[in-house]
């Protein structure tokens, strides 16, 4: 392949932060990226992930910290001199230039010779399968095609780092799945280093080598998809990773990691993630897939059982997603391999290993700002 990524060994973000006026959009981001990695920045809207990407790109000046490539500072370098490529959420194609000229633009800026430009644009077009649309204007293309132009425009420069800002969020579901595979394919075949911002946990889990979960401008957890999926470090990350059942309960017994929690007519055995003592208020997180309706005749797992009334049943292909209501008035999302009748009472069970028990507060109160502490007080 003629298009190949420029290289570096490590990209290091040290205490990177950005505030606007008094408001902090991003604080203390520390991250080391190795060449060839695919990193996803993940979080709900307003968590600071796009700010982080724009700071990295040089489009937003930092207000704290520094960015280094192989030990050399790049945060003082202008965006256009960093040699990064970027794909934007709304594509940001130049509306007055044809597809070809959009892709050629960056090469022209770098003073690449004309025949060379022609060759590389041709290759890039081939790469994203848009050869027959070369002479069209962006307005004449579909969303998916525009997105491919945007990607071609970024990779044709052989950037040492590709930044992607929710590139798939404006596409429909089917196209999104296709493009996911496409981006992953490009990443692997070109050996690109990619930083990818998204709010879609499924997207992030399926594409990235490592994930960075952000909340309110702060990093919550950095890890592989598996680590994040199986072992979120706090209930917020858990919530974001699809632990849809979050239940506030009280610890009644502790034996090492294994804790028993009670409340609202419910007793559960689970695994403590944070140190817990009897009487602590905790938040229990369980994935719907881990909380199942007991089939007639099947055993309950680890003695964890409770009964609940079925309120809604959805068919999900191989299994059923069931909404239930416990006698204590808790609405839970569970799975079932058969279709229970709405209004009937079913037995639920969960593996204690998959019942994760978190401290109810997200952070040390000492680390919170005054404002956050007040907010926490009010919530309680």
């Amino acid at each position: 392949m003629a298009i190949a990524a420029g290289t570096f060994d490590t990209l290091e973000l040290r205490g990177v932060g950005r505030s606007f006026g008094g408001a902090t959009a991003l604080a203390d981001l520390d991250l080391t990226v190795r060449a060839g990695e695919f990193i996803a920045l993940l979080g709900p809207s307003g968590c600071g992930k796009s700010t982080a990407l724009n700071c990295l790109a040089g489009l937003l000046p930092l207000t704290h910290g520094e960015i280094l490539i192989d030990g050399e500072r790049v945060d003082t370098v202008a965006a256009e001199k960093r040699g990064f490529g970027m794909v934007f959420q709304n594509y940001a194609l130049f509306p007055h230039l044809t597809v070809e000229k959009n892709i050629a633009f960056g090469l022209q800026m770098r003073g690449v010779a004309k025949p060379e430009i022609k060759r590389r644009v041709g290759e890039a077009l081939e790469l994203v399968k848009l050869e027959q649309h070369a002479k069209k204007l962006p307005g004449q293309l579909s969303g998916g095609q525009q997105q491919r132009v945007a990607i071609a425009r970024a990779v044709v420069l052989e950037p040492r780092l590709v930044l992607m800002d929710e590139p798939l969020s404006n596409l429909d579901a089917k196209l999104r799945l296709e493009m996911r595979t496409e981006i992953r394919r490009l990443h692997q075949s070109l050996g690109l280093t990619t930083i990818y911002v998204t709010h879609d946990q499924e997207e992030a889990l399926s594409m990235a080598d490592r994930l960075v979960v952000l909340r309110e401008g702060r990093v919550q957890q950095v890890g592989t998809p598996e680590e994040l999926h199986n072992a979120p470090v706090n209930w917020h990350v858990a919530d974001f990773m699809g632990y849809r059942n979050l239940i506030d309960l009280e610890v009644s017994a502790v034996a090492g990691n294994a804790v028993t929690v009670e409340g609202r007519g419910l007793t559960l055995r689970g695994t403590a993630v944070d140190p817990a003592a009897v009487g602590d208020h905790v938040r229990v997180a369980i994935r719907p897939e881990d909380l199942t309706v007991v089939s007639p005749g099947a055993p309950v797992q680890g003695g964890n059982t409770t009964s609940a009334r079925v309120s809604v049943v959805e068919y999900h292909g191989r299994e059923f997603a069931v909404g239930v209501m416990t006698p204590g008035g808790l609405a839970l999302h569970v799975r079932s391999d058969h279709a229970p009748r709405v209004g009937s009472t079913v037995e639920l069970t969960a593996d204690p290993d998959r019942v994760r028990v978190y401290r109810a507060e997200l952070e040390d109160p000492s680390r919170m700002s005054v404002e956050e502490r007040e907010l926490a007080e009010v919530r309680r």
């Binding site: 950005r18 505030s19 606007f20 006026g21 000046p61 930092l62 207000t63 704290h64 003082t76």
Partner: protein, 321 residues
């Protein structure tokens, strides 16, 4: 770093010093960046220079001038530096022009806005010749008051086509006095102001998402309720702006007041008085005083309109937020 310092300090201290200095400038840049200050703000410079040199300075100079009345003024009205203002309020000849101006500008602005609303509503959908119609409406705006005045004098004069037509069909038996009085100025202001108001209101109307009104319709609102409860509040900011702009237009009228009005009587507007002081009496301080008072009177009207607007609806005019 200067040589003597370098000589005294150890290499390590020197490095430290340089690092510290680098850090402090960087954080200064950080702090400025956080507030949105950097070199590109220089693009604002030409416009700022323009505003200061051609607007702020002359205007402040003019205000200063109002406190330097001519000896003649001081003698006539006393009150030292305030004598221009005393003259403005006490000299009936000058002060009456405030009412004369208001009597002309307020009804005209109100008329232009109120008539534009139904017309804009009727013409808001697509129809053949819409572009031609709007183009024709632009005409009077570009013609300006001087031209309209000349046309009115001929068309609506005692022997003009209008009177001739009305006489011919027997509606009147004496030619109507339509120019060289209050009516003439009013006509001329409507001819140039109405298209302006209409085009403005049309464009505000087109900014309101039709589906908002459709939603109200599905909820059972009839056209009166839709207009009063949905469209009018959404249109209110636009109406206020339109009113203010047409008012400003009518308020500063001066060629037509002279040409088709009765410059020494019914249409002796403030602008005319200001120009008389400036161009004929060469009393610059008094001219500035009248000019400044024009601004004040207008500000009062604008403030009242904005007050009305804020009581209607606080927010954007639908559409693109």
């Amino acid at each position: 770093m200067s040589a003597p310092t370098a000589g005294r300090g150890t290499p390590a201290a020197r490095r430290g010093g340089r690092a510290a200095r680098g850090k402090s400038t960087a954080s200064m840049r950080h702090r400025l960046a956080e507030r949105g200050v950097d070199v590109s703000l220089l693009m604002l410079l030409p416009a700022l220079v323009f505003a200061v040199v051609l607007f702020i300075y002359p205007f402040s100079y003019g205000i200063g001038l109002t406190f330097q009345p001519t000896p003649a003024m001081q003698e006539q009205w006393g009150a030292g530096i305030w004598s221009n203002y005393v003259a403005f309020f006490r000299d009936g000849f000058i002060f009456d022009s405030v009412w004369i101006t208001m009597r002309l500008a307020l009804p005209v602005a109100l008329f232009n806005v109120l008539v534009s609303i139904p017309v804009a509503f009727k013409l808001r959908h697509r129809f053949r010749g819409k572009k031609a119609l709007t183009t024709l409406l632009v005409l009077p705006i570009t013609l300006g008051t001087v031209l309209t005045a000349q046309g009115l004098l001929i068309f609506a004069g005692r022997q003009g086509w209008l009177n001739r037509f009305l006489l011919e069909i027997g509606v009147i038996d004496q030619p109507l006095q339509l120019v060289n009085n209050y009516l003439g100025v009013m006509f001329s202001l409507i001819i140039s102001g109405f298209p302006f108001a209409f085009l403005l209101i049309s464009s505000y109307l087109s900014g309101i998402d039709p589906s908002i009104e459709a939603a109200a319709k599905t909820m059972g609102a009839d056209w009166k309720q839709r207009f009063r409860r949905i469209t009018l509040p959404l249109l209110a900011p636009g109406l206020a702006t339109t009113f203010i702009l047409t008012f400003v237009l009518a308020f500063s009228v001066f060629p037509s007041a002279r040409l088709v009005g009765d410059a020494s009587g019914e249409t002796r507007v403030m602008a005319l008085m200001a120009y008389r002081a400036f161009g004929e009496l060469l009393d610059y301080p008094m001219a500035s005083t009248i000019a400044v008072m024009m601004g004040v009177v207008e500000l009062v009207v604008i403030a009242v309109v904005l007050l009305w607007r804020s009581s209607m609806y606080k927010g954007s005019t639908g559409g693109k937020g």
